[in-house]
């Protein structure tokens, strides 16, 4: 831009952008791979004209100053907000000479004020841009030192399974066993569940990799790990396979894929693990799911029963029902009926100050098989920035309140609670999960951690990448473009899924063994928890320690 040209309000310099490309002319071999790989075309070939002044040797008063213009080629960063650098650093990954890298601006960017062109607020994928959380601050303080040394995480037997399903009170349960009455189906599963990420939000290779990994964990390693489909149906081949028993089918307000699922019921060899009715999610509480048109290709359209290339926004609520009470009751019952009362059905809601009301409603519904609560730190494939960053309820106090409420009414063993949203967001997956379990969760659901650990997702809490919504995922995790998703190998993903679950299992034992627990999952063992914040300790009813 020339200095005498007018500027528009949205005319930005590189300095105004959140990510700035540092390019080293000396190292660059001009191969062009960085510009080819950039998912958002933030960089392009730059032709630079540079003046060289070369005064002649010796004194010549009448002589003219030697001056020349030369060209050189390099990388230029675009400053148009539509082409902003997202910091994914794929350019750095492909550069043979390490000549290029994006760097975070040293001050708050100005781009954020110009991300609403055409009156469209910013939408993105990824995560809430808040890096800390209460879960990381919780410590496990009740080390068993009293009458016996702690357990041996490496040598003792551990039973770390949890229950998914409505558990009857003991007297009723025994009576029903004796009288052969109907006992609600209960699954004994691993307490770390892969949360709902749909076929559509995830690429085919990513989905296949997750399913492969889950099947391997179950069939070869005897770890009963379960995976939720998210809202988007399920490939026919999986619906008709014996591996369906490892899958939690999710139904949400768009009912995407459910025509196909219902029609496949007669051909199912196994019942699914459970049915999850999604009423809300942590990343965009109160907002429906959204698969943007970029990602609706032929395969996705076929599975979901929709035309290709259209936006697929689910409504915020289940439109056919009058209230959540009615909705929960009717949907749970009809889902039970569809599988002959053999499959647990439970709702998933976003973290909210009204979670207790939903829970109380469930306690009165004899079919409700649990409640999953997704806290504000939940991730997403696509949401409005404002929903992601500012809506929702933290999971810790939400799950604690719900658990203590169940204790109050004596139903803490009858309706299992599952917690999600930001579990492991700073990498401390096991510690976060164990803290939630001891606050009262029967298990935890994780999504983002799986994407990062199993597939190398580049997203971060500092707004890096976060373009899952537009199908341009540079790692091929959330893209439906074969040129991108073939970068990801399903078997490698499966291997990483297995790795992460095995390491989680070891770490979980390393947490519960010193607490003297191994015979059952320490659900609600809040006496083991401590935090160095008096208010938080009081709120969560755990120990205050300094």
């Amino acid at each position: 831009m020339f200095s005498n040209k007018p500027v528009t309000p949205s005319t930005l310099s590189v300095k105004d952008l959140p990510w700035q490309i540092l390019w080293n002319k000396d190292k660059c071999n001009l191969c062009g791979q960085c510009t080819a790989v950039c998912p958002v075309n933030a960089i392009e070939l730059g032709v630079f004209r540079k003046k060289f002044i070369e005064p002649p040797v010796g004194l010549d008063i009448n002589g003219t100053l030697a001056c020349d213009y030369k060209l050189y080629y390099g990388i230029r960063q675009k400053t148009d907000p539509a082409y902003k650098c997202v910091g994914c650093a794929m350019c750095n990954m492909v550069c043979p000479n390490d000549a290029i890298i994006p760097c975070r601006s040293d001050e708050a960017d100005k781009l954020r004020f110009h991300m609403d062109r055409g009156g469209q607020p910013r939408r993105r994928g990824g995560r809430r841009n808040v890096s800390d959380g209460i879960l990381d601050r919780i410590k496990f303080i009740r080390i068993s030192m009293l009458t016996d040394p702690a357990l041996d995480a490496g040598r003792h037997e551990f039973e770390l399974r949890t229950l998914l399903g409505r558990v009857l009170p003991p007297d009723k349960n025994l009576k029903f066993v004796q009288q052969q009455g109907w006992i609600p189906p209960v699954r004994e599963i691993y307490p770390l569940i892969i949360g709902g990420m749909s076929f559509g939000a995830l690429s085919p290779t990513m989905w296949e990799g997750l399913q492969l990994g889950v099947a391997y964990l179950n069939e070869e390693l005897n770890l009963p790990v379960r995976i939720s489909t998210g809202e988007g149906g399920c490939p026919q081949r999986l619906l008709r396979s014996r591996f369906l028993k490892y899958v939690i089918l999710q139904i949400a307000s768009g009912y995407f894929g459910w025509d196909e699922i219902i029609h496949a019921i007669p051909d199912m060899k196994e019942d699914p693990c459970a049915i999850e009715i999604k009423y809300g999610q942590g990343a965009k509480p109160g907002d429906g799911g959204l698969l943007m048109w970029y990602k609706v290709n032929k395969l996705i359209a076929a599975i979901r029963g929709v035309p290709t290339g259209v936006n697929l926004p689910s409504p915020p609520t289940h439109q056919t029902k009058y209230s959540i009470e009615e909705s929960v009751a009717k949907m749970i019952q009809s889902m039970y009926m569809a599988w002959g009362f053999r499959v647990p059905v439970y709702p998933k809601i976003s973290g909210t100050s009204t979670a207790l009301a939903v829970l109380n409603n469930l306690t009165r519904n004899q079919y409700a098989a649990g409640l999953a609560i997704d806290g504000e730190d939940g991730g997403t494939g696509a949401a409005y920035n404002v929903s992601m960053n500012h809506m929702g309820h933290p999971i810790a106090s939400n799950i604690r309140d719900c658990y203590l409420n169940l204790v109050k009414v004596g139903m803490q063993n009858e309706i299992p609670l599952f917690a999600g949203g930001g579990v492991g967001k700073t990498g401390n997956l096991t510690a976060n999960a164990a803290a939630l379990i001891m606050l009262g969760a029967s298990g935890v659901q994780v999504g983002k951690y799986i994407m990062q650990a199993a597939a190398g997702c580049l997203g971060s809490e500092s707004d890096r990448c976060n373009i899952c919504n537009i199908g341009l995922c540079p790692k091929g995790i959330t893209s439906q473009d074969a040129r991108l998703y073939r970068r990801l190998d399903a078997e490698n993903v499966a291997q990483r899924v297995v790795d992460l679950f095995l390491s989680f299992d070891t770490e979980l034992k390393k947490i519960v063994a010193p607490l003297g627990r191994s015979t059952s999952l320490p659900i609600g063992m809040a006496d083991a928890l401590g935090i160095n914040d008096r208010n938080a300790a009081e709120r969560l009813r755990i120990n205050y320690v300094v």
Binding site: D148, D171, S520, G524
Partner: protein, 378 residues
């Protein structure tokens, strides 16, 4: 660490037999207190098996309040043991006004109550007295039940036994349980001293109950007023036993299946797999994690011993027909029943429940992998 000893004998015994057994195991406990449970009483109580006996410690003011309170309800004193203690207690033993053991006659209107209602009222009354005592710190109530006496005190068990004259004829009994430690895993409090008692069930425990808080929360949320207290993490063992037998109608053979259920592989091959799987799920919050050795006494006067799932505390049972004892250590057993067939001594392991029934003729061993008795599995 606790040391436990329990004995059941056809011939009434002096509590000193048990205290001596505890004394030989003194290296294993800190001599900080003693808890004594007597049942199937001999002596003067032999002829008043149905009369509820109140056991506790009272100040003079507390005793006056007790008398007024009990009179008001209509309870009449039938018999009492007066323990006159020396003026100066041994070192470490607090000075008390009255150690009370008093049998009552029921008020007339109580005679029409069903057994369940009677038991519930006795429990309720004991809890009320306890609460009254806690308000003014003038009463400590251990039990209020027919044919049961409990005494607990801080201090060296042998010194306390001599001080309180445990060898007196009036305290002879056929079932005696004792434990030699006061400062438990939580605050020092006589209500934290084993054995614990509720409606005819009593247990004492060696070890630490790491799953205490979730179990306590589960029991207190059962809506039964007796599930309260919990100054000790071991009190839940008594209440789980009570819950299982009275609420679920299960026998003691199922106790291990509640507190330490079988793991899946063993469960699958068990003849009562369906029942046990359901029991494991629905009683999940009652699963303990140990390390614990539990010795208990049932309303029918049976004694039993169980261990936790993997860590185990010391525990042995042995004896001869007519007299069997459960002890933390073999030396304790040797002290109480020296002439026995030691080859038949049994140390219960992670799957076992050792039971000596009311006939005191043999030690019955139930393994968790065995079928349940027909009455339970039907």
């Amino acid at each position: 660490m606790c040391r436990l000893f329990a004995i059941t004998s056809e011939q009434p015994l002096s509590p000193m037999v048990v205290l001596e057994a505890l004394d030989v195991m003194r290296e294993g406990h800190d001599c900080s207190g003693v808890g004594l449970f007597l049942r199937d009483l001999a002596g003067p109580f032999e002829d008043m098996k149905d009369a509820p006996i109140l056991s506790g410690i009272f100040s003079d003011a507390g005793l006056k309040r007790l008398d007024a309170f009990m009179m008001d309800i209509g309870f009449m004193t039938k018999y009492k043991i007066t323990i006159k203690v020396p003026k100066t207690p041994p070192a470490g033993v607090p000075k008390r006004d009255v150690y009370l053991i008093r049998a009552y006659e029921y008020p007339e209107e109580w005679e029409e109550f069903s057994q369940k209602e009677l038991y519930d009222r006795l429990l309720s009354l004991r809890l009320k007295l306890r609460k009254m005592g806690e308000e003014k710190e003038d009463m400590i109530v251990f039990s209020f039940w027919p044919d049961v006496i409990m005494i607990k005190e801080i201090g060296d068990p042998t010194q306390v036994a001599n001080y309180l004259q445990f060898d007196r004829q009036e305290l002879h009994a056929r079932v005696i349980m004792a434990q030699g430690r006061q400062n438990t895993n939580y605050a020092i409090n006589l209500y934290a001293c084993h054995p614990f008692f509720i409606q005819g069930f009593s247990t004492m425990t060696n070890g630490e109950n790491t799953a205490f808080v979730p179990i306590k929360e589960y029991l207190t949320s059962r809506g039964f007023e007796g599930y309260t207290g919990y100054q000790s993490d071991s009190e839940v063992f008594t209440h789980i036993l009570h819950f299982m037998m009275t609420n679920l109608g299960l026998g003691v053979e199922a106790y291990k299946h509640v507190i330490t259920p079988l793991q899946d592989e063993d469960l699958q091959s068990h003849p009562d797999a369906d029942l046990l799987r359901n029991l494991k799920r629905s009683c999940r919050p009652l699963i303990i994690d140990g390390p614990n050795c539990v010795i208990g006494c049932l309303p029918d006067h049976s004694l039993f011993m169980v261990q936790d799932r993997k860590k185990l505390r010391p525990g042995v049972v042995g004896g001869k027909p007519g007299m069997y004892a459960f002890s933390s250590e073999i030396c304790g057993l040797d002290a109480a029943i020296p002439y026995r067939d030691k080859s038949k001594d049994f140390q219960p392991m992670h799957l076992d429940t050792a039971i000596v029934g009311p006939d005191r003729q043999e030690v019955r061993i139930c393994s968790q992998i065995n079928p349940l008795p027909p009455a339970l599995s039907a």
